[in-house]
Amino acid sequence: MTFVQENHQDDIVRMKGLTKAFGSHLVLKGIDLTVRRGEASFIIGPSGSGKSTLLRCVNSLETYNDGALWVEDYLVGAEKRGDAWYEARPRVTAARRARIGMVFQRFNLFPNMTALDNVTSGLRMVLGQGRREAEDRGRELLDRVGLLDRAGAYPAQLSGGQQQRVAIARAIAARPSLILFDEPTSALDPELVGEVLAVMRDLVREGMTMMVVTHEIQFAEEVGDTVHFIDGGRVAESGTPADVIRASRHARTSEFLARIR
């Protein structure tokens, strides 16, 4: 693994030559990408281009093979002892993940817990908060996503849109410094997409730092600070939504945008 200079203060995520292979299949072929504090960063691109893998590297759900991936002040997958970086212990990786929220395409709520217990699961089981303290915070969060009245419902009793809103509440419960959204609306019926996007829009307004992998181009254009177009494991184009979506310079980007509109 090659190491580059330490992370810049305002950068929450910084990738430099990030490379990832599944067996002999190279998925990420040297990604350079930066996410600044408070930025809503959208990652778009064709299926199989490596967008989700890229996102999953940030909280170590995937390991990377080469290059460097910094989150805040640490090198992902490594911990510093003296001047040298060593493989991170599972405990260290877990503590880092607790500072990064993640929202999954298929919600991944815990089916044996109520909405409220899902939201408070990290507070109770990871941060060790008492039930009352955790539940006060949990209710506040459910209220924010408009589901306070469904606090006692199990995931199977909620619609897809409601489940994803609960999942967002769970992801932000521990006040993370970054949230990762992995195609948060792709598994939803079209009429349920709006309610999830509305919650995400609120988070952007509050200045939450987020990385969003999505096919909702209009939404990216509307609320995104930066858009990265990924194609074939490389960043083909980066910039403001206006640059990348409305005035894309790359043929591949325009082609992709034309296809999904």
């Binding site: 993940r97 991944n108 815990f110 089916p111 109520t114 199977a156 769970r170």
Partner: protein
């Protein structure tokens, strides 16, 4: 069946009902015929069965059977969970150790294992624990040999039952647990295992019932459980069939309790899951 207010009527079909009644009658005749052969022979001394069913020696045997079953079962849950976690871990060494364990203990008959533990003293006459030398034969009594044999054997099966349950839980559950900051071990124990229990319970219940009956095998090394006690009474009194019936009645009773407990547990675990335990519409065969 009258459909409300439409004036339409759907007539019952007679043929399936007649066929059902005929089948029930036939089954009854077979059962009564078998009862006639057993009871009508006049060779079975029913009073002996009644006399011995609750005899102190037999009740001690029942207690021993229960102890062997419960201790092996609880032990196998702990050992089986550890082995299952090792098998699904991505650590090649742990995985291989657990696989080898399962291969060996599932691959040899439990009776062979029990007899082996009982005869451990033949090739390992002494053990030395902290400077203290003990003869194996004083450590390995029929009860400890039976427990060891049953526990180690059933753990191999329990490992596979638990592993089956763990891999039935969607991988997204593990990822969600990791994403909120759980360590892999905690995610397995707090998130995946509780969900796997619903899949594990039916198979583990089967295993528990098998185990309850497999405890009868250890009578060959002189353990005084249900079969051991009843056989020893039979050899003194020559009430061979009667004592087998006494043993069978106790096994049936214990298995019935276990089955009842299992079905109650399954109902309890299905709570909150709207689709679990819901009956599928089925053709009315009544």
């Amino acid at each position: 069946m009258n459909t409300a207010n439409t004036g339409l009527r759907i007539h019952r079909r007679l043929a399936p009902r007649l066929a059902n009644a005929a089948l029930a009658a036939l089954a009854l005749i077979v059962v009564l015929g078998m009862a006639e052969i057993v009871i009508g022979s006049g060779r079975i001394r029913w009073n002996v069965i009644v006399e011995y069913l609750f005899a102190p020696a037999v009740l001690n045997g029942v207690a021993m059977t229960l102890m062997l079953t419960l201790v092996s079962l609880l032990g196998s849950m702990v050992l089986g969970t550890i082995l299952a976690a090792m098998r699904i871990s991505h650590n090649r060494v742990l995985e291989t150790i657990a696989s080898a364990y399962v291969w060996f203990f599932r691959g040899t008959p439990v009776l062979v294992q029990v007899v082996f533990w009982f005869n451990l003293g033949l090739f390992l006459p002494q053990v030395t624990i902290g400077g203290l030398s003990l003869p194996i034969n004083s450590l390995v009594t029929p009860t400890t040999a039976a427990l060891l044999g049953l526990l180690l054997n059933v753990s191999a099966f329990m490992c596979e039952v638990i592993r089956g349950g763990l891999i039935a839980v969607d991988n997204g559950q593990t990822e969600a647990a990791l994403s909120i900051g759980m360590t892999p071990t905690r995610a397995l124990l707090r998130i995946v295992l509780p969900q796997a229990v619903r899949v594990i319970v039916p198979a583990a219940g089967n295993l528990a019932i098998d185990l309850l009956k497999a405890t009868s095998l250890v009578y060959v090394i002189g353990t005084r459980e249900i079969l051991g006690t009843t056989q020893s009474i039979a050899s003194q009194t020559f009430y061979v069939i009667e004592m087998l019936i006494v043993a069978s009645l106790w096994y049936l009773f214990l298995v019935s309790i276990a089955s009842f407990g299992q079905s109650r547990l399954e109902t309890y675990l299905a709570r909150g899951l709207s689709t679990a335990g819901r009956e599928l519409p089925r053709p009315n065969l009544g």
